[in-house]
Amino acid sequence: MRREGSPLTGVATVLAKETADHLTSIRLWILEGLILLAAGGAVYAASSRIRDTVSEDPFLFLTLFTVARDPLPSFVVFLGFLVPLISIALGFDAVNGEHSRRTLSRVLAQPIYRDALLIGKFLAGLLTLAITFLTLWLLVIGLGLVVLGLPPSGEEVLRGFVFLLVTVAYGGVWLALAMLFSVLLRQQATAALAALAVWLLFAVFWSMLVPLAAEAVGPSAPGPFGDAARAQFQLGLSRVSPNVLFAEATLAILNPATRALGPVFFSQLEGAILGAPLPLGQSLLLIWPQLAGLAAAVILLFTVAYVVFQRQEIRA
């Protein structure tokens, strides 16, 4: 049956309201403070290490994001850990919160489709993430300028920008997941817990589970080709985790010397000048599958949430 009118009527209104809610919520301020603290610590530690070494790295500025000094992890590792938390905080009560406040039927009785509410809320979350990360990114770069006393090159800025996009896409995956749980589960606390459980699974347990699973169900052919097949299988399995995709993508984009993300045969390295940086285009090519994977995860999760929401009874 065809329905008349655009499903996008009202998206802008929902987007504006939800973004304003996010940006003024105490929840977000707490998490932003946490991230800011992490960023400050990581950058300070990294910069002090960078000053200690007298290297001729043409991408010195980018190492600000990736270098770690004990006991602090690098900025990128911090982000890999904290971005899901922010995203979950933005999304876990998107729909069930409207249910429990009894505002859902009232809002949907206005001349908009359900699509507008869900899309508006998702875009608001994504916009909030983008604003937060952009601010953070500018802060880190500014801090780097002050501490290192040297400006980033054009390519470094571009690479940094791609890194920003990857971070937003990574946040989008967790936002879509949290919103899916907010549609599936009526209790906000349960939805938050479910999303956090998935986060813990991928952040902590996935790297332990993958070798076990690969051994149990992976290819078992003997010899070097069997080993290679097993390594490939294990890598494929580990890439189910958005955390792994994020780590690989940021590694390749922030460290231009990265030439491959996975096992490489010696024959493939023939003639390669190890340690020489790849041009930006080649690095992008390298992380394209990771980016596509993240985008696909966002779309998949959002679609499931969308379909479930469309079929849901809205009566409280």
Partner: protein, 318 residues
């Protein structure tokens, strides 16, 4: 007169359970219609189908001549809906809540602000316009819900249990506001299980029972159908009981006479027949001591109906 709401053979099933089974409903424009029934009898489900928030399993609905499933945006533009125990965003002020709804409804700028002021004035919340809804009482929230309906300038207002949980004073005020809607030419559909209130404002009522509308019409006609007579006249008279009772039963328009305690007669009649009763008593040689009349209340209709249908069900079960 054209119909604001027209539903035919409406069915809504949730799995094996049918919340609404074969509902026919017609509401004329400009009237106040009351949906009555116990909790869980399918009133809210019906309302949700009318505004396209739930899809009917079978049957057709027309709201203001539009199909709520195919043209939901147009229907929702012309229909104001206030859900059962309405909720607002607690962190926002009354004005901000209304502004959000108004923008979703496609209003903007000074027109929106003017309508917000007018609506808040109308429900007597102008003084609290810039307070957070967090501090609002139940009655204020209900009134804010009505303000949201007014904001749209709807042709049809659907109010689901608008007075539940309100104190008598607040209820009285709220009913006054509903009468105000009617005066503005807005068709009102309201659902309730509080009968005396429905009776006070509704032109017609529909009685819901287990997903069906079992009775429909003006209150007085329902009373005639269910109670056998709309008016209860009680007479106290001395004299020959048998001849007085016979004389009373002969009055045209009297449906039944029941001798009560000694010298008391309960007459059910279609109209106000007090003078005829008085004449009949004196005509039969009796002395009239007192004469009283009770208008039928919806309460009686309701209780009598469910007593009977409950009895039938009991028989079916046995």
């Amino acid at each position: 007169m054209s119909l604001a709401v027209e539903a035919r053979g409406l069915v809504k099933r949730y799995g094996a359970f049918a919340a609404v089974q074969g509902l026919d409903l017609a509401i004329e424009e400009g009237t106040v219609f009351g949906l009555l029934g116990p909790n869980g009898s399918g009133k809210t489900t019906t309302i949700l189908m009318l505004i396209g928030l739930t899809e009917a399993s079978a049957g057709t609905v027309r709201v203001l001549g539009l199909d709520p499933l195919r043209q939901p945006l147009e229907v929702k533009r012309a229909v104001g809906y206030m859900p059962d125990s309405v909720g607002f965003y607690d962190e926002l002020t009354a004005r901000e809540n209304l502004r959000y709804s108004g923008k979703l409804a496609g209003l903007s700028g000074s027109e929106l602000e003017r309508r917000i002021d007018a609506a808040l004035e109308r429900v007597r919340l102008a003084h609290a316009a810039d307070q957070r809804v967090k501090v609002f009482s139940r009655g204020m929230r209900q009134r804010l819900g009505l303000a949201e309906v007014l904001l749209k300038k709807p042709r049809l207002a659907i109010l689901d249990e608008p007075t539940s949980g309100l104190d008598p004073q607040a209820t009285h005020e709220f009913l006054d506001m509903i009468r105000g809607l009617k005066a503005d030419g807005i068709t009102v559909l309201l659902s309730s299980h509080l009968l005396d209130q429905v009776q006070a404002v509704c032109d017609r009522v529909g009685l819901f029972h287990r997903g069906r509308m079992v009775l429909e019409g003006p209150v007085e006609r329902l009373a005639r159908e269910v109670l056998g007579g709309g008016y209860r006249i009680s007479a106290e008279a001395e004299g020959n009981a048998a001849s007085i009772a016979a004389a009373l039963a002969r009055i045209p328009g009297v449906n039944g006479v029941e001798p009560d305690e000694p010298n008391r007669y309960r007459v059910s009649a279609e109209r106000d027949l007090r003078s005829a009763v008085a004449e009949a008593v004196t005509g039969a040689g009796g002395t009239l001591l007192s004469l009283g009349m009770q208008r039928p209340t919806l309460d009686e209709v309701y209780n009598e109906y469910f007593r009977r249908s409950g009895g039938e069900e009991a028989r079916h079960a046995a």
